[in-house]
Symmetry: C2
Subunit: 489 residues, 2 copies
């Protein structure tokens, strides 16, 4: 198995650019700096890059021809959707040799079938547009995340995005019925279709989902649709500690089962920041900032069945027993929206505070309290005064466990401890059998941590698959799998 | 990528058998015909085989050493769980060169965690024992199929088994949180863990699930657990045609959402056979055998919420509109059990009628009526008098679409048309964008059809993966992927 990967990318020739223009039309091969700029830097601005060109095919067939041409020339392709990724996986490096393959012209909703609960959507369609297409036939496409207005179907499936309704509906990979992918040799692997059951060979679609564009170019996905909830009970709840939050989740699940659609934990540091930078009218739902808040949704599709009494009873008993300090049920959709706005403004509020150090860890739900109990004091010992901004999808065992600078500290001093903080947080998660990247992926940002924490047998198995499907390393080289893993031994 | 696969198996030497005995204990290397017999023939008796030995390791570490020893000797391993597969994937060929790797000593439930909804179970544990372990902590392990008393966790995940609750809980692959696999070089890939979110690289576990033992030996799985339903509404419903059944499913889903746990269709041919061969006390729930019957479960986990009125209303409206002819709700658990017994006795009743020709097709749910409308008359034209035994998991788009001999026909005459019938049924399913194997897999039984209907690009991609992970073709050679696909081009 000593297939030798090519260098990361050859320099694209003028001849290649002409060929690409012949395939997609010259208006859709962007090479001027003014045109390529918005494709070159990642959402967070951590990886400023420079590509040789951006190519924008309009169909699967054009993608296939672009791939074949670039592969033949040894030129690396960086697939890009809405460019909302957080780990530098969808933007070019600084070499000016890579070509960005933007799917932004492939936005069609090819087919929606309410009866089968299936919809086929092209890669460049935004998540929001997909949600809207489902709603038009009375169905729910449940993938939902802050960037849904820009994030695309190709992107969210290539990165196995999570978001706010994973607890009930699963990650992106759980929402795929079929996929269409262009392979490294330019052939099209058409695995679209709306089958709920199909045991004919390896489930190839799951290999491309979450592969961050390193195994093939996702051009379309058939997604699952669900009945739309008719009633959503939204609650804001103060709890004494994370352990109480986890216990509350267990009781809610016991009482109303999988109707628990979202279950978020928000630490006082996160809530205080939001209120400090709040838009007019934003206020703490319970009047004060408690040490820990929980925001949850319980949703019900059946018109005749109302889970509100069951939720109220769980909360009443929990208050009596000290598991919950105080709780408010949203009295209207408007109020539910306001509760959620607090949660959604955490990243923005943290941005207003200057540089931050971010983590996206997961552990088994029951270990969330242990994670916080171990990581919090260790971080405070490492950097006295550090402000811990802890929030996230606790129902999925996933915390966005971030740090802002101590008051009065300089940026350079803060960033000097960044690596030590990463190591501390990741060590803690991994010691608790957790993950260093719950939903954001690896990209370029987490390559080192990925290689440090992932078992070598798993890394080697992934490298074998990459070499088997993309032997010349055409697709997103240097992302997800470090080059060192692909080099011949 | 011209890795040359080894011949299917070298003949195991006495020296190898001694090494295996040293690893697992001589009592657990079976070589006498009387001892190996029950491991050598598949459940349906279609593939009588003969192995060189059966080796029964007691731990993952022993499996790893057995694999390393056999791989080094070029000897093929045929992994086997409960040996309940229907496509000849888990029994040896007739060459006496293969070694059966039975997981039947690895039966431990390693860990059950009610709070996290996760349980780690070894490969040889039966599905029923796993269900019981979950029930002991008040949780549901929802995988359920007729053979659950014998079928094992390793087997059902290696084949991505379906069963009776797929509509709500998904196939086996949807129920896996983690997996432990022994690779072809004898290394252990430990991907156990109970994370709901983990975006660190390719989702390797999905590659081994449904791979029918061709990529690695599954030694343990971490499965998802669910809240247990507190109330199940079971109904037996007569409908005029399959179209009405599909419409009834849509209305039920609209009314009670994902509470629809099972939705089965039973044709008159299937029900008549069951009643003909019925155990004492079995009777048609509605007094007579209607052309089409539906059996469904609606389940509810919440103690305070009863979906019965919503179900009754759907049925009342459907009866008024002629969509449903008649319906009976089970008045007790006992009666619900009796309804389900009718459905579960179909295969046995068909066996009593002599030879049968079986299919396990799937199409999108909305295309079930079209499939039946196209396949039924074509089969009757091909073989006048053929008895069509049509039943299955219509909620998943999956039919067990079987044929029994016309009255008075000889077995040889019937089997003479077997290939033509397969072709007709499979052509019909594929023309409707369906699958030739919804839940049973490929094994050896469906190799030809698999190669005929699967797109060459998909076959080639699977072959690349097989060559990358099992270059010497140690694991289950000749099953799932025909040797011709693996030979050098």
């Amino acid at each position: 198995m000593n297939t030798v990967p090519a260098p990361l990318s050859s320099t694209p020739s003028e001849h290649l650019l002409d060929r690409l223009a012949a395939i997609v039309g010259s208006a859709h091969v962007l090479a001027a700096a003014a045109d390529t700029l918005r494709y070159e830097t990642d959402y967070r601005g951590v990886f400023p890059g420079a590509c040789r060109a951006v190519v924008r095919p309009a169909s699967t067939e054009q993608v296939a021809r672009v791939v074949a041409a670039c592969a033949a020339a040894g030129v690396a392709l960086v697939p890009q959707g809405g460019n909302t990724g957080l780990v530098g996986g969808s933007t070019p490096d600084e070499s000016r040799t890579e070509v960005v393959l933007s799917l932004d012209r492939m936005r069609a909703v090819r087919r929606v079938d309410a009866l089968d609960g299936a919809m086929t959507v092209e890669a460049g369609c935004t998540v929001q547009a997909a949600q809207e297409a489902a709603a038009e036939v009375g169905r729910l496409f449940p993938l939902s995340l802050a960037s849904e207005g820009s994030a695309t179907i190709g992107g969210v499936f290539s990165t196995n995005a999570g978001g706010e309704q994973v607890l009930r509906y699963g990650n992106a990979r759980d929402l795929a019925l079929g996929i269409e992918v262009v392979l490294a040799d330019g052939r099209v692997l058409d695995l679209l279709g709306a089958l709920r059951k199909d045991n004919t060979g390896y489930d190839l679609k799951q290999l491309f989902i979450g592969a961050e564009g390193t195994l093939g170019i996702v051009t379309a996905v058939t997604v699952k649709l669900f009945p739309r909830p008719r009633k959503v009970v939204t609650a804001w709840v103060a709890v004494p500690d994370p352990q109480a939050a986890v216990q509350l989740l267990a009781r809610l699940t016991e009482a109303v089962g999988e109707r628990v659609t979202a279950f978020e934990l928000i630490g006082s540091g996160a809530l205080a920041l939001v209120l400090e930078h709040a838009a007019p009218g934003m206020r703490a739902p319970l009047g004060e900032v408690h040490a820990w808040s929980v925001l949850f949704d319980v949703s019900e599709v059946s018109a005749g069945l109302d889970p509100t009494p069951a939720v109220e009873e769980v909360l009443a008993v929990a208050i009596e027993q000290g598991l919950v300090i105080d709780a408010a049920l949203a009295a209207s959709e408007r109020q539910a929206h306001d509760f959620w706005a607090l949660r959604e403004h955490v990243p923005e509020a943290q941005r207003s505070e200057g540089p931050s150090i971010k983590h996206d860890i997961s552990v088994a739900v029951s270990r969330i309290p242990a994670f916080i109990e171990q990581a919090d004091p260790a971080l405070r010992a490492l950097l006295p005064g550090v402000r811990i901004v802890c929030f996230g999808h606790v129902g999925d065992g996933n915390l966005h466990y971030n740090q802002s600078m101590p008051e009065g500290m300089g940026k350079a001093d803060f960033l000097a401890v960044e690596q030590a903080m990463h190591a501390l947080v990741h060590d803690t998660a991994v010691r608790l059998h957790g993950s260093i990247s719950a939903e954001h992926g690896i990209g370029r940002l987490k390559l080192d941590a990925f290689v440090r924490y992932k078992p070598p047998v798993a890394l080697d198995t992934m490298a074998r698959i990459k070499r088997a499907l993309d032997p010349a390393n055409t697709f997103n080289p240097g992302r997800l799998l470090p080059q060192s893993l692909l080099d011949p031994r």
